[in-house]
């Protein structure tokens, strides 16, 4: 059932068993999974069914440090959350990705299986050979190669607010409150238990939610903001007794033109490592370090994609001649993203559009560029904090200081060196690493982010090292949990959505089995 909180009486009170804050991938998954058994689920969504500029402005904040998309444009604040502009990339974290998590792949495996279906993936396999076709094959890498192939599968992409809207409307016990903004988490005097949530609407309506259990699922920046703004009892903010809330912020840095590959004429095509259709589904191969090299060299998890070098696309990143009026409407990063993704989106279309696109944007065979992304080591100084300015509801806004490690460029170059080494060993071709020092082109200047907000309420069994425990419960607050990528203690190198969904299902199973 959907209820517009603006239409409720002033000082309304909502009673529920579980209250979930945020109707994005995590919140919607939780609500659907918890539905039934006479449970009353209140799902609070700040926005409505569609984009609204005033609601979106509640995301405004400040960016310092590494350049970043303005915060009010980076996420979407309406039903479905940021899945409303999700590109759809999915992959399961592997054992190496979860090495520093409090649990391993076996724990997540059953939830990943469900997450596949929720993210509308066609297959459960991420093995490169299962996606090999006559048109696009993974490279035959040698024994002991320093790199290996992997696969991202692409979801439709699933717009959670659209795809699961009717489910939410009819799910037993689930009520979605639209236009309902959490503005304060009230606790008992010891800050050991949440006793209620204060909720406000932009039309001035206010009310409370009382529940047995509360889950913050508002995203990696907003979860922090909600905890730090809730400072009436614990003055440093809820869950922040060890000054960890907001620290370890990470996104996936994305470098679109990291190297050039020139292949021998007789070499196999490398279309496997670009977005393409295999067996009727969209996938994209990538190159990463072998487990041994990653461990030995302490490289961050990385993914290198290989694209046909297209003069117009690649030279145009950040500079493509979009009409000025259109460009002015968009953030620089979004404009860059558009110039990068537009031809690729077009490529998904059937001929003749696809035929035209290939001729417009593609380049001579045998030359490629690489795109690089990684999940750097957690850095406590990369963080989200509060600033003095407040939004329309009186909530202090956030400041984002995203920091990349000093080793970022060196690691990126090493990753490409490993790929170059393998291309040379197998006789496929040679690779040139772009850098201002050697080739005159600085790939870092085009560095963007994946718009993935992770790590700010990280998971660790020791409250001195994590905001939530292995069950995603906030340390010291028995009835407050967090869902979403803010609990990731490390970040892997890929889109977090499917893991967010898997973790939400895992949290749901804990909540279902909790006594009372």
């Amino acid at each position: 059932m959907f209820v517009d909180a603006r239409t409720l009486p002033q000082k309304f009170v909502i009673d529920a068993d579980v209250c979930i804050v945020g109707a994005g991938a995590a919140g919607i998954t939780l609500a659907r999974d918890l539905s039934g058994n006479n449970r009353r689920i209140a799902l609070l969504e700040s926005g409505n069914f569609d984009f609204d500029a005033d609601t979106q402005k509640l995301y405004a904040g400040e960016v310092v440090g590494q350049a970043y998309t303005p915060l009010e444009r980076d996420r979407l604040r309406y039903l479905g959350g940021t899945t409303n502009h999700w590109e759809g990339s999915c992959r399961e974290f592997d054992a190496a990705d979860l090495a520093d998590w409090p649990f391993g792949v076996d724990e997540l495996a059953p939830f990943y299986r469900q997450a596949h279906d929720i993210c509308q993936l066609s297959s459960h396999s991420f093995a490169p050979q299962d996606w090999s076709t006559d048109e696009a094959r993974p490279l035959q890498l040698g024994e002991g190669a320093g790199v290996k192939s992997g696969v991202f599968q692409y979801s439709a992409p699933t717009r959670f607010g659209t795809v699961y809207r009717s489910d939410l409307a009819s799910a037993p016990g689930v009520t979605v409150y639209l236009n309902a903004n959490l503005v304060q988490i009230d606790t008992n005097d010891a800050a050991s238990s949440v006793i209620g949530l204060e909720v406000a609407c932009l039309n001035g309506n206010r009310g409370r939610v009382r529940a047995r259990h509360y889950v913050l699922a508002a995203g990696g920046i907003e979860n922090v903001r909600l905890l730090l703004n809730s400072d009436r009892v614990q003055q440093s903010g809820l869950g922040n007794q060890y000054d960890l809330v907001g620290r370890y912020f990470m996104d996936h840095p994305f470098v679109p033109l990291a190297s050039t590959i020139v292949a021998h004429a007789a070499s196999p095509e490398m279309g496997f490592y670009d977005q393409h259709v295999a067996r009727g589904h969209i996938i994209e191969g990538y190159i990463s370090a072998s487990d041994e090299v990653r461990r030995k060299e302490r490289l961050p998890p990385f993914a290198i994609g290989i694209r046909p070098a297209g003069g117009l696309v690649d030279a145009g990143v950040g500079n493509m001649k979009l009409p000025p009026t259109l460009r002015n409407l968009m953030s620089e990063n979004f404009a860059n993203g558009l110039t990068y993704y537009l031809p690729r989106w077009l490529d998904r279309l059937e001929s003749p559009v696809r035929w035209m696109n290939q001729r417009m944007w593609r380049n001579p065979p045998g030359t490629y560029t690489t795109v690089y992304t990684c999940g750097p080591d957690p850095d406590p100084e990369s963080r989200v904090t509060l600033i003095g300015t407040v939004d329309a509801l009186g909530m202090r806004e956030t400041r984002l200081n995203w920091r990349l490690p000093a080793s970022f460029e060196r690691d990126m170059q090493r990753a490409h060196e490993l790929l170059g080494q393998e291309l040379g060993r197998s006789g496929i071709g040679r690779l040139r690493i772009e850098s201002s020092a050697t080739t005159g082109y600085d790939p870092i200047k085009d560095l963007g982010e994946g718009h993935h907000h992770m790590g700010t309420t990280r998971m660790h069994d020791d409250p001195r090292r994590g905001v939530v425990n292995a069950d995603c419960q906030v340390h010291g607050i028995a009835n407050l949990s967090i869902a979403g990528s803010s609990v990731f203690p490390t970040y892997a190198c890929d889109d977090p959505t499917m893991t967010i969904v898997a973790l939400a299902l895992r949290l749901s199973s804990h909540l279902k089995s909790a006594p009372g």
């Binding site: 320093g146 170059q413 040379g424 040139r432 690493i433 050697t438 080739t439």
Partner: protein
């Protein structure tokens, strides 16, 4: 914008082919049983102009290998040819030996980075010989 243009130019410059594609066919300087010399090695490089540019950078990076005699000696030695050993009997055989050596160096991580290119040590030396 200027940097991006530079990238495009650099990219176009490298696009037509590999800098170190080895050339089979005419011009094999060493006769059967003769010693493998610098001229023979140079004659294997398909695009001497691009090789020269990389070679210049390599020599700047490794000034101890500045002299052609040193480079030739190092290449000979990496190919397993001693001081007095004869060159492979023909160009194709030499290319085959070189190719195997280069691949082995890539496999063993015996690589150098020159002007951004990730190269096997021996092929970088071959470039340096062209400068």
């Amino acid at each position: 914008m200027r940097k991006t243009r530079r990238f495009v130019l650099a990219y176009l410059a490298c696009a037509p082919g590999l800098p170190l594609m080895l050339r089979s066919g005419l011009g094999f300087a060493a006769g059967e049983g003769q010693e493998l010399d610098a001229a023979t090695l140079r004659s294997l490089v398909a695009d001497p102009r691009r090789a020269r540019s990389i070679g210049r950078s390599y020599r700047a990076q490794y000034p101890a290998e500045e002299h052609p005699g040193v480079l030739t000696g190092l290449i000979r030695s990496s190919l397993g040819l001693g001081e007095s050993a004869a060159a492979p009997p023909n160009r194709d055989a030499l290319i085959s030996v070189l190719d195997a050596r280069v691949r082995a160096e890539f496999g063993a991580g015996n690589i150098v980075r020159v002007d951004g290119w990730v190269l096997a040590r021996t092929e970088a030396r071959l470039c340096a010989l062209c400068d």
